[in-house]
Structures are given as structure tokens and as C-alpha cells.
Subunit: 262 residues, 2 copies
Amino acid sequence: MDLIKENPLDLLIRRIRAHHPLGVDDQKRILDLPYKIRTIEAQAYIMREGDRPDRCVMLLSGFAFRHKLTGDGSRQIVAIHIPGEAPDFQNLFLEESDHNVQMLTRGVVAEIARESLERLVLENPAVARAVLVFTLVESSIFREWVLNVGRRDARSRIAHLLCEFACRMNAQGLAPNGVYELPMTQEQLADASGLTPVHVNRVLQGLQRDGLMERDRRIIRFVDWEAMRDVADFNERYLHAREFEHGRNSIGLRSGGLAFVN
Amino acid sequence: MDLIKENPLDLLIRRIRAHHPLGVDDQKRILDLPYKIRTIEAQAYIMREGDRPDRCVMLLSGFAFRHKLTGDGSRQIVAIHIPGEAPDFQNLFLEESDHNVQMLTRGVVAEIARESLERLVLENPAVARAVLVFTLVESSIFREWVLNVGRRDARSRIAHLLCEFACRMNAQGLAPNGVYELPMTQEQLADASGLTPVHVNRVLQGLQRDGLMERDRRIIRFVDWEAMRDVADFNERYLHAREFEHGRNSIGLRSGGLAFVN
DNA sequence: CGTACGTTTGATCTTTCTCAATAATGGTGG
DNA sequence: CCACCATTATTGAGAAAGATCAAACGTACG
């Protein structure tokens, strides 16, 4: 399933329906949304702190990240977005962005103008509910990141990031057999975990040495999911995956494991 | 203005109207919400991780906090709530709470049942918008906390927490002249900043020694707001206070300073 | 084939943690 | 009102995780 080739609004509908039933007219109204497909280069900014959010972006391919800077210029990545993920509603109802959104890799996005999406949300309770839930799940992930960065040591922290990716990539069908590409430099990994690149490097080597995972460039391969989950102190509850199992045969998914667990 | 003595739904209406106009019938429907006033003891849990959120709580008096625990039992406080703040919508549309909510002090809350609030939100676009904005502002605060804990040193981190409180307390009229009570032990401060209590103690003494603030018990008094803001690397943008200036004479408020700045 | 960027390594330095003991404080029952 | 107990705050000394600095090594790509 290539997200770039399909109508991005179908993707949006699918995501909303995964959470909650959607009437035919609601679906029609979604399909009427005007949108624009754009290719964006790696490193390009989608939104900068202080900007007025005037559009909402859906990632059809490529990765993006959100970050903030301290006064002395150090950077904290506060979120990463993988292809196919729900659109960016973080700013849509605020007048001024409080952080930067930047592409991690080159990618293709669908842009929806703020006004039309805003109207859609406010006029369609089913859509409003879905947007609220998307936002709450993102909030939950932020909370887990505060915990991760505030209370876990470097090894757990990195392992946790990797586990979160594994789960989210898996949910998008992008991590067959526990193998996925994490297109981040070690410096970016450091900025996401509140560490230095040097230390990230040593931690990654440690995880590898202990047989928890393998790396080849940016390709991550989980060798021992259970052990990894253990050092990561990872519990997927905060991802609220069950909120998105509506109308799906959820047997197996509810078992708590990933598809690639041996 | 004593929040305990007034109708909590008026408080809710006021908060929503601060953000966006509200029709008379919307207001009526809000006033029809059934609610229950409860006194809660310090340390009592309002919600536990794993619970199904079945009610929404507004803080009329007293302080509360949200936290998560790692597997080995260390705690990270991810949010603090002060009296009069917007209700807790974090969990209202999710099936399972991903964190704990606990009272910091004894306090009085108004409880609104999930179903009635959910219906209100979904049937009234003006309310939906307000709830969305409340949620987005909380999200923004989480992001700032990730930055705070991930990229600032101990001194900045504590100073930043204190500045955030100063602003938020001030917005609720609870910090006259830059003096406010922060009813947290140093251990709780440590859990909010990802430090140890011992180190928090030393940092507080440092801030005091350098003439930035004074302490008497849990009473904080800002002596030099500008200097504090400086070491805190504090920029109130992320609090999105402007989102709540609707219909208010915002001259002075927009100037970026606090009421108690000398 | 050279340049730029990312990764890896080693050595040293700092911040913060840990452990442990002491001093305040607040609240409680008598 | 006082003595006592539990909590919280404070101090000191030593240990450790992670940061910093600097250099070398790879790799991709024009």
C-alpha cells in the first residue's frame, strides 16, 4: 500500500474510522476537503516557532520531527512523526506555534488549509471526537517522554525510544520482523533523548554488544524484543493503540505483543 | 473571589468565554451539567493509571499533580494543577488513563460525569473548540517540560518551574507582587524536574544566595524577576496566554510582563 | 578523488547522584 | 501547652553517569 499513490483524504478517513464509526455524509465532507500535495526536502521547515499555523500537514512519505531550542542554542526534539501518521493538529487551533516542525528526510505531504479543516472539525462531532483523541494520544506520548528524559538512565532512554518506534512503525506496517529504518543521525537521537551524540553512540554499541539489537547504518533490527522491552522499561499502554482498533479483528493485537514477536 | 463559593459551571463558562464567545444557549447547556462538589484529602488519588476515566474534575481549591512511575519505582511528575484551572480533559476521551492524578494538598473539586460532558462537547462546537484549545495548551506545556528536563541544567530547570508557576498563579490572581505559595516538598520538586531532592535543595539555596528569590517555608518570593527569567531561559510563549484574552482589555497583558514586575 | 558529514574512540572533567548523618518543622495526643 | 514522632530540609563526603574535548576513521556523494 503506497500512501503516496492514494487519496490522502482516504487515509484520513481510515484513521478516523479506526477510532470511531463515521457516517456517509461525514465521509463525503472529508473527501470534499481541498488539499495540496507537496514534496519537501530533508531539513526543510514545515512550521517555525512563532508562525501562525495556517495549514495542517499529513505525512504521506518521509519522517518529520518537532523540536524546541533553549536560549543557548541546544535543541530538544519533542516528537517524531512517521509516514502515514495522523495529521498535525497540534497547532491548528492556536494562534502561534510554540515549536518548530522540520522534515527529517525528504518526503511527500498533503496540506490542508486551516480554515476548511477547522470548519470540518467543528461541524462534525465524529471528526471532532477523532481529532480530540489524536491530540490526547499525542499528549500521552509527550508525558511518557517527560518521564523518559527525566527519570531513565541513558541506556533505558535510548532503548525506550527504539521500542516506541518499533511499535509505531509496526502499527503502520513499516517494521516487518522487527526491522525498521530509523532515519536519524546519532546527534538527532541525542537531541531526542537529552544526551550527547558521543554518549548515544556508546549506548547503542552497548545494546548491540549485549545482543539486544543490531544496526546497519540506520537500519535497526530487534534481536531480543523481550530483553529490549525490559531494559527500556517499555509499556505500550501510553500509545493507546486500543483506541484505534474499531471495527478491526483485534484478536492478537490485544495480546500486548508486536506482530514480530518471535 | 472565592472559587469554592461560586457555581463551578460559571467558572467553566468564564474560562471558555475567555477564549471564544459563547452563545446564550451554549451557556444554558453548560449550566445544566450535573456536577458534584467533593473535598479531597492531600495525597488522595483522583485517577490511577489503568483506570477508565469516568469523570472530569475541576479544581476549586487546592493543588493537584499528574505523575508516572518507572518500573523501578522512580517517579516523574508531568504536570501540576493550580486552583481554578481548566478541568481535566486529558483522559476524558480515552478508555484508559496512562498516568496518575493525585492531590498535592487537600482541596475542593467539582466532578462532572464523563457522559454528560462528552455530549456537551460533541454537540456544541464552541465548547469543542475551547476543549481542544485547553488540551493543546496543555500539550504545549508538556513539550516545554520535555525541553526543560532534557536540555536545561539543574539551576535553569528549577528556575523555569518557578517561573512557570509564577505566571500561572498570577493568571489566576494567586501571586500578588510575585509572592506565591508553592505547596510542594523538595522531593516533589525533584520529581518534577528529574533531579534528586538533595540537589534541588542546593539549587534553591543557590538561587536565594544570588538574590533571585526568597523562600519562607513553601512561600516563594521573586526578588529579581528579570534575572530569574534569564537563568530560567523562560519565555512564556508556550503558555499561550493570548488564547485567553478574548473580550478582555489586553493592554498591559500583551506587554509580555507579569503584573508584579517592578 | 576530495570534501562534508556522520561515527567512533580515548582521555579528562563536571554535574549530579548516592549515602549517611543531623537539624528543623509540623502535627498529634496527653 | 508540651513532649514526641514523622516528615522534610540541610550538610558533607565520595562515587558515578554522562559531558566535553579532540582526534581519527568511514562513507556518501558531487
